[in-house]
């Protein structure tokens, strides 16, 4: 997980486990809620993600329960899982911050008057090595 970028599904599964251990169905429901309905994991996809996160040491089995004759396994984040989720959240926040700054700069530039006295007649770029503007 550290060598490869984290998938959206893995990110939401880790996020779903960030506050408490959850079982398979609990993770499915939580990922859907956290993503505002955008991430709807199938059971096959969920267990592929859980296998990978377990192999990477980001989650572990917390406990097993039998409910109405059926097996429930609860998973929780490891310290590495918390660190990986934290790093991914930081990376996403940095990306979102950069996007917001660029949007704000773009809006400010658009709000400026297009031509202001003599400056409006100036060439758009500095002269090149040969003194031209091509």
């Amino acid at each position: 997980m550290t060598a490869k970028s984290m998938t959206r599904a893995a990110f939401f599964v880790l996020t779903a486990l960030a506050d408490q251990p959850r079982h398979g169905y609990g993770i499915l429901r939580e990922t859907e809620e956290l993503s505002g309905g955008e991430v709807h994991l199938r059971v096959g996809t969920l267990y592929g993600v859980l296998d990978r996160l377990t192999a990477d040491g980001l989650i572990v089995l917390d406990r097993e329960e039998v409910q109405q004759g059926r097996l429930r396994r609860y998973y929780r984040l490891t310290d590495d899982g918390v660190a990986a989720l934290d790093a991914e959240a930081e990376r996403m926040a940095a990306g979102a911050g950069a996007a917001r700054r660029r949007i704000a700069e773009g809006r400010r530039a658009a709000a400026r008057p297009a031509a202001q006295d003599p400056a409006g007649l100036e060439p758009p770029t500095a002269p090149g090595l040969a003194g031209g503007f091509a």
């Binding site: 169905y25 059971v43 096959g44 592929g48 990978r52």
Partner: protein, 333 residues
């Protein structure tokens, strides 16, 4: 009491390998059924999306996914090495053959040049488009080879799927035009030679798979060496060459090199190299035989038949040796 939906879902889960079902089946059934109304479970079935997700998990768990037992790890490794070796041979062929053809057509005067260009211009828009696609799309093998070795499996998958498409054209035309397929065995084997590596690459290079690596050399150097062997075998013996002549010669050189290298080396590399080449050798042998068979009773094709038979013999021998070496390699681990 077990509902009909649970029975149906358990049937779908049978796609998964036994080791995975032992570990996960009860848990997956619980996860799947928890939110569903028990009273309506006898009227519903697992959705197509659910079945597809289980099928994808089944393929991945058989091809060396995280936590898979050793036989599946080896199967995944063999499949990935088979895909890499086949893509390398097909990539070299896809680059060398057009270069030689262009060189020939544009250095032999105006008549040859016009003959070459007429393939694209004289048979209508559809035939011209298909001719261009058949020249351009196979370059996807080269794209896939380099993408795979640069850890870009998605681009590699796109490359092989695009490159394998032209092999379907003769089969498609025989269906749409209702014309009998000339040499159906050869056309089918050629399609298999394209699609088996393509599918192997797409399935075995999943997200959990280790990155593709060559046993020796850099990607560019190995590709160039393969191109040289392919080109030399086409130029030196043009009378006996056909679509598989160059790739088979490269395979023979590569397989001999691997056998010699594995005898001398002391370390244990990626498991399954010899077995992967044995599978590729078997596939090439089938294509070689399918290409050769229609010519066996044609008078005047003695040189072609002799060259083909020599290749078939070398392929059969090397495939057998590689299979034995592969089995010993696995037993020694």
């Amino acid at each position: 009491m077990t509902t009909l939906l649970e029975t149906r879902y358990r049937t779908v889960l049978r796609l998964l390998p036994a080791y995975y079902r032992r570990e996960r089946e009860e848990e997956m059934v619980e996860t799947y059924l928890e939110d569903l109304d028990r009273d309506t479970q006898d009227q519903s079935r697992p959705t197509l999306g659910e079945v597809v997700s289980i099928a994808a998990l089944a393929v991945r768990s058989r091809l060396g996914a995280a936590g898979a037992p050793r036989p599946y790890v080896v199967l995944g490794s063999v499949t990935r090495l088979f895909a890499l070796a086949a893509v390398l041979l097909l990539a070299a062929s896809a680059v060398v053959a057009p270069v030689l053809r262009l060189t020939w057509s544009f250095t032999r005067g105006g008549a040859q040049r016009r003959l070459f260009l007429s393939e694209f211009t004289d048979h209508g828009v559809l035939a011209g488009t298909v001719a261009v696609a058949q020249w351009v799309l196979p370059l996807g093998w080269a794209v896939a080879y380099f993408a795979l070795l640069r850890d870009r499996p998605r681009l590699a998958r796109l490359g092989v799927l695009a490159a394998a498409l032209p092999s379907l054209w003769p089969l498609l035309r025989s269906v749409t035009d209702a014309t009998p397929l000339p040499e159906p065995a050869f056309v089918t084997m050629l399609a298999l030679l394209a699609w088996l590596p393509a599918l192997a690459l797409c399935t075995a290079h999943h997200r959990d798979a280790p990155p593709a690596r060559l046993p020796a050399g850099t990607p560019g150097l190995v590709f160039m060496a393969t191109c040289v062997v392919t080109g030399a075998s086409l130029v030196l013996l043009p009378a006996v060459s056909d679509l598989v002549w160059g790739p088979v010669n490269c395979f023979v050189v590569g397989a001999l090199g691997l056998l010699l290298w594995s005898v001398r080396r002391t370390d244990r590399g990626v498991p399954g190299g010899a077995l992967a080449l044995a599978v590729l050798g078997l596939l090439l042998l089938a294509v070689r035989v399918a290409a050769l068979y229609p010519w066996l009773r044609v008078p005047g094709a003695a040189a072609y038949i002799a060259g083909g038979l020599a290749q078939a013999g070398a392929l059969a021998l090397l495939t057998a040796v590689l299979a034995v070496a592969g089995r010993r390699e696995l037993a020694a681990r």
